[in-house]
């Protein structure tokens, strides 16, 4: 069964970290991804550019609008995701807890339609 791990962190705090700290965080993510790859659970994943670069498209009543910014203003922002293949929700949650982003923010775990 596939699960999406959605990583939410405080984006401005992330972007204003000293270079050394950002480097350590990147290394922690690389190690995490490598562990999942070795365990055969990693299906995919992406790191997203900041919400400054986001646009939101709507076309209610046939009128298309393209607005700058993310879909919703939230305390923490979606910064990336991992798609994993795990036997059950408990395993998926165990992987989510090991995600570096869980220590500083939130990881939403969502089952994917097969």
């Amino acid at each position: 069964m596939q699960y999406l791990l959605l990583i939410y962190n405080n984006e401005s705090a992330m972007l204003s970290r000293p270079a050394e700290e950002a480097k350590q965080s990147m290394a922690a993510y690389m190690a995490y991804a490598e562990t999942m790859r070795k365990a055969g659970v990693l299906v995919g994943g992406q790191r997203l550019r900041p919400t400054n670069d986001a646009t939101t498209v709507r076309a209610a009543n046939g009128k298309t609008s393209v607005l700058n910014g993310p879909f919703a203003e939230t305390r923490e922002q979606l910064g990336g995701y991992f798609l994993i293949d795990a036997p059950d929700l408990d395993e998926a949650l165990a992987w989510a807890k090991r995600c570096p982003g869980a220590a500083t923010g939130s990881i939403e775990v969502r089952p994917v339609w097969s």
Partner: protein, 111 residues
């Protein structure tokens, strides 16, 4: 460049859709996916189960529900390979979800 199209819609409204409307929407999605494939831009796409099936991990705590309560909920995503952001916007505008919800377009960092 790769971009992620994040689909947001009102889950409750979607669950209440009449069967006919549901079928029409399903057809629109199939046609959209087919158009993306033909254009060679589709990298991956997935639909998510409703937020009632979501859990959120914060440090060692596991909470029921999604990360944030919002008026509309994340329902899935499309990862596209496009030449530029304008092309991403053009595909976003054609996405069936924009008629009743929203598509957030987010560029992805290169690997």
């Amino acid at each position: 460049m790769q971009v992620l199209l994040l689909m947001y819609h009102d889950e409750k409204a979607m669950q209440k859709l009449a069967r006919e409307e549901h079928g029409r929407l399903h057809g629109a999605f199939m046609a959209y996916v087919e158009a993306l494939k033909k254009a060679g831009v589709l990298v991956a796409n997935n639909g998510l189960k409703p937020t009632s099936a979501a859990k959120t991990v914060q440090k060692d705590a596991v909470l029921d529900g999604p990360f944030a309560e919002t008026k509309e909920q994340l329902a899935g995503y499309f990862l596209l390979e496009v030449p530029n952001i304008e092309a991403a916007h053009a595909w976003a505008k054609r996405h069936p979800t924009v008629g009743y919800g929203a598509i957030e377009v987010r560029p992805v960092w290169p690997h």
